[in-house]
Structure formats: C-alpha cells, structure tokens
C-alpha cells in the first residue's frame, strides 16, 4: 500500500474534489498541500476547521473555489492574508465561504463519520452566522421540543492527515493533539495518511488513536510532512516561521515568489525542506 505522495495526490485528488486536510495546529499535512499546489489542482472545495498557512497557500495559488471553515487566522500572529485577499478582493479568484463555529464544524464531522445526515448542537443562538449560512438551520427535539442547531454532515471526497506512524498493513497511530482528525478521517470517502515513519508493527495502544487499515486508502511515508506545523515526539512547531509568514503572505508578489522558489521549483517535500534549510543557513 505505500505510495509516493505525488502518486497518491494524482490518483485520489481530482480537480473539483472536496478535500479536508485536518489536524488542529498539530500534524497539519503541509507536504500534501504543497503537492496539490505542485500538481496545479483547481476548483477544490477546501474543508478545514482552521485553514492555517496550508490553505492560505492553496487559496493564494488558485486551487480553491470554496472554503468550509470555522476560524481563519494565523494563530497568535494575525490574519491569513491570502484568505483575506480572496474574500476582500477576489484575488486570485472568488472564494465561496461556508462558515461555521468550531462546535458546529465538529458536529458536522461527527455526523459525517457516523454517516448520519446532520449534526446537532446547542449553538448558533442569536448570532448572525446562522442568517448568512443557509447550512445552519434549526430542528426541534422530538422529545423535549427544545430548538437546536443543525448542520449538514461533512463527507469530504478525500481527507488527508499526517500522523506519527503506520505499520505495514496500513494501521495508523496518532498521539498528541487530535483536533477533529479522527472524525474527518472516518467521514471521508477516501483517506490518505502521510506518516513520519512506517514500522513493522505498532505497539499495542488501548486508547491511542489507531485508524484501522481498512478505512485507510493510502499511506505515504513522508518525514517532516507536517512542517512548519509539528509532529509531537518528532519536531516542534516552527513558531518563528508562522511569524515570518505574516510578511511573506502580505504582498501578492512576495507570496508568489516564495511559493515558486520553495514549492513549485522543488520536486517533493524533502527538497522543499532542504530549500528552507539552505535559505536559513
């Protein structure tokens, strides 16, 4: 089952697909996002609770027509400038928003994982988001008559995660901050996982998150695949890079030049990392 990342994207992510690259701050699949940019995918429906730098890059490079999200900033730093430019000035193209709260999006992923039609929560009470997003509606509890918020299930065509390790059968183990990774994985029609390492067998983990092999469509060995996000136990989040991104992404030309130099001009993630390391030296 191990595949190259380029092959996995080529095979499973066509133009127009709905895709969720999940991982909440931790284990963000940057390598996969960059490969999608290299293969010049278009008209994607991007799904992620926190778009983060990875979707800022994909939006700025013209991969996306629609974004489902719940918080669109550079954590602790400020704006995602490419996301803002798309929403405020339609550059490089218009971006349709399907905006939720974290709890709403979590409920939508949970429903998707269970193959239920909608998720339910005690949320969106007297807020303006519900009036702007027709995907946020109300249902009445058939038992108590309480009015609750309902959101349609999220079932991405493809979910892509990054994880610490997989075994040769394709079972995947994750530890550390999980976000909605498990729910997004089980909600997807196809699941691709990039991993730091592939091992002969995983240690028994009674409560560690193990995504069993028959729900995993492809495993890709990709060291450093979450950088500049992080992989607990392997490398730390590059907070200094997240800070630097503010200046790189603020200006269209600077952004494009950075993406060309580090992503488009590099054949794969290893070369991407080496180009950053060379620049830092």
């Amino acid at each position: 089952m191990p595949l190259s990342l380029a092959d996995a994207i080529e095979r499973f992510v066509p133009d127009g697909a709905s895709i969720a690259l999940e991982g909440f701050t931790h284990l963000i699949p940057f390598a996969a996002g960059h490969e999608i940019i290299r293969q010049r995918r278009r008209d994607l429906h991007l799904i992620r609770m926190t778009p983060d730098l990875v979707y800022d890059q994909m939006i700025g490079m013209g991969c996306a027509r629609k974004l489902t999200f719940s918080w669109g900033g550079n954590p602790g730093v400020g704006s995602l400038h490419r996301l803002r430019d798309a929403v405020e000035h339609q550059w490089p193209q218009p971006l349709q928003l399907d905006e939720h709260s974290h709890a709403g999006m979590a409920a939508a992923f949970c429903a998707g994982a269970a193959r239920l039609p909608f998720g339910v929560l005690r949320g969106y009470i007297d807020t303006d988001l519900a009036t702007h997003n027709p995907n946020i509606r109300r249902v009445t509890c058939p038992f108590s008559s309480e009015s609750l918020a309902a959101v349609p299930a999220l079932n991405p065509d493809v979910t892509i995660l990054h994880a610490q390790r997989a075994d040769r059968e394709g079972n995947v183990a994750i530890h550390g901050i999980l976000g909605a990774a498990r729910e997004a994985a089980l909600a997807a029609k196809t699941l691709i996982v990039t991993v730091e390492e592939i091992v002969d067998s995983l240690p028994p983990a009674m409560n560690g998150i193990v995504l069993p092999h028959w729900i995993v469509g492809a495993v890709v060995h990709c060291r450093g695949g979450a950088y500049p996000s992080y992989a607990q136990g392997h490398y730390a989040r590059d907070n200094a890079f997240y800070r630097r991104w503010d200046a790189i992404s603020r200006d269209r030309e600077v952004f494009i030049a950075w993406m060309e130099r580090h992503v488009l001009a590099t054949p794969d993630h290893r070369a991407f990392l080496e180009s950053l390391r060379a620049e830092a030296a």
Binding site: H26, H132, N239
Partner: protein, 261 residues
C-alpha cells in the same frame, strides 16, 4: 509601579478575577497570559482548558497557537476536539470562558467576523472559532479588549457571539445556558453589567486612568456606576511573575527550530 504598561495592568486585573480550582476555557493572547499568571500566583489549582483538547495544562511558556506542543506535553489529558465542545463546554462544565473581539457593544455582544458587510467585507476577521459557544455556555465570561471608539461601538457590524443581546433579561429567554459577560477588562479599567438593564457600566479604573479617558475611548454614551473602584496597583510578585513569563515566552518563540529533513 508607574512603569507598568496598560497591557500588564489588564493581564493582572484579569488574573485576579480567577480563583483557585476554577475551570477556565482559555483563549490565545492576553487571556492566556492572565490565566497562567493566576496559576503561577494565587490559583495553583486552576484547571486550564485550551480548545485544542488539552485539559489541566501547565505550560512553562505561553503558547503562540492554541495547539502548541507545550500544551499537550504539560496537560493532565488530551481529548479530541469534538469532546471539548460537546462533553465539556456545551455540557456546562466550564466556569469561566475568556473572549476577545474586534468590536463590542454596550450589552457585551461581540464581533470577531467582519468589519463592513458579510458579503463584501472591508476587513475579513478570523471568525468565531470557539467564541460563540464559549459565549453561550461558559458559566460566565470575561472579555479582554483594548478600547477605542472603533472597537467599543454603538452597533456591531456582525454579531458573532452573544452577550446580553438587548439587555433587560433578553439573554435568559434564549437557549444560552451560561451566564454571559461578567466583566470587560480593558486598557482604562473594567466595565461590568448593570444588574437590571445589563448595560455595561464603568465600575473600576486603573490608578492612573480617568472617567474622561474612559468616555473618550468608548463609542457609545458610557454609563458610569455611582461608586468607581480603583484597581490596586500590581504587587511585585504579580509583576515579576508576569514579566518572567513573557520573557520566557519571547525567547521560546524566537528559537530556531531544526528543519526536519
């Protein structure tokens, strides 16, 4: 203590509102500093929850993001994000939620979504994240926000999170189970809701702030309580603890990370 910044005064004032063993849903930025200052001074048993799913975390440096590894490394446990929002926050297991925003109105309703119209915004802000459920479900919330007439506004451009709606008990008619904003900690002092009208009124000032300053920074006609408390200046312990925390944090965030090739 005349050399304190207003940001330090805000952080210390917010920390003092927290009590030992309270369960606190923390946001990034000043709230995170305030909560950890409380933990390092008068509230060692405070339970800090970050929405990334880290419960009972005791970070040595403040996280830049809501999900830094430091939070997981020092947590009592790490749970999936849907659990945090369903089993803890919506289930009413959070005593205090912290909120920030780009705009606040006189009833403590908040906007963190857009400046201008939603469909053609002048400034697209990050959006709700966890804010609207924190606002609805935490037993009480504290809002931390620097005041200008552009942020303390007569009318919000967008209502992301509810405070007291139109006041006079309007919030209790909704399904929001939490108590709403009990204090707004800002750079001149503190606003708290009037017990009946629920309109925010000036109830406390820092030693060097004045009612005139407060009025000049608030975009609505600010109500002033009969008695205005003067917030005690920071103690040496508070100030030294906060500055040491901020210094450790700056050093950690600037540290070069080995690129994992």
């Amino acid at each position: 203590m005349s050399d304190c910044t207003r940001e330090e005064l805000m952080t210390i004032a917010a920390a003092r509102l927290l009590w030992d063993r309270c369960v606190c849903f923390v946001g990034i930025g000043l709230p995170s500093a305030a909560c950890n200052l409380a933990r390092l001074t008068h509230a060692p048993g405070i339970v800090l929850i970050y929405e990334s799913g880290t419960i009972g975390t005791k970070p040595d440096v403040l996280p830049l993001s809501i999900g830094d590894g430091e939070l997981a490394d020092t947590a009592a446990c790490v749970v999936p994000l849907p659990e945090i929002f369903s089993y803890y926050l919506q289930a009413g297991r959070v005593d205090v939620g912290f909120l920030g925003a780009a705009q606040i109105d006189r009833h403590g309703n908040l906007n963190s979504t857009v400046i201008g119209s939603y469909d053609a915004p002048k400034i697209r802000l990050p959006g709700s994240g966890g804010a609207q459920e924190i606002a609805a479900h935490a037993k009480q919330t504290f809002v931390m926000l620097t005041a200008t007439p552009r942020s303390f506004v007569e009318r919000l451009d967008f209502r992301t999170s509810v405070g007291y709606l139109e006041g006079n008990g309007a919030r209790t008619q909704t399904g929001a189970r939490g108590g709403g904003p009990r204090a707004v900690i800002t750079d001149f002092g503190m606003l708290t809701p009037h017990p009946q009208s629920e309109e925010l009124q000036l109830t406390a000032l820092y030693p060097d702030a004045t009612i005139e300053e407060a009025r000049s920074k608030v975009g609505w006609r600010l109500a002033v309580a009969d008695i205005i408390e003067t917030i005690e200046p920071p103690t040496l312990l508070e100030l030294e603890t906060l500055r040491a925390l901020n210094a450790r944090t700056s050093a950690a965030h600037a540290r070069r990370i080995e690129i994992p090739v």
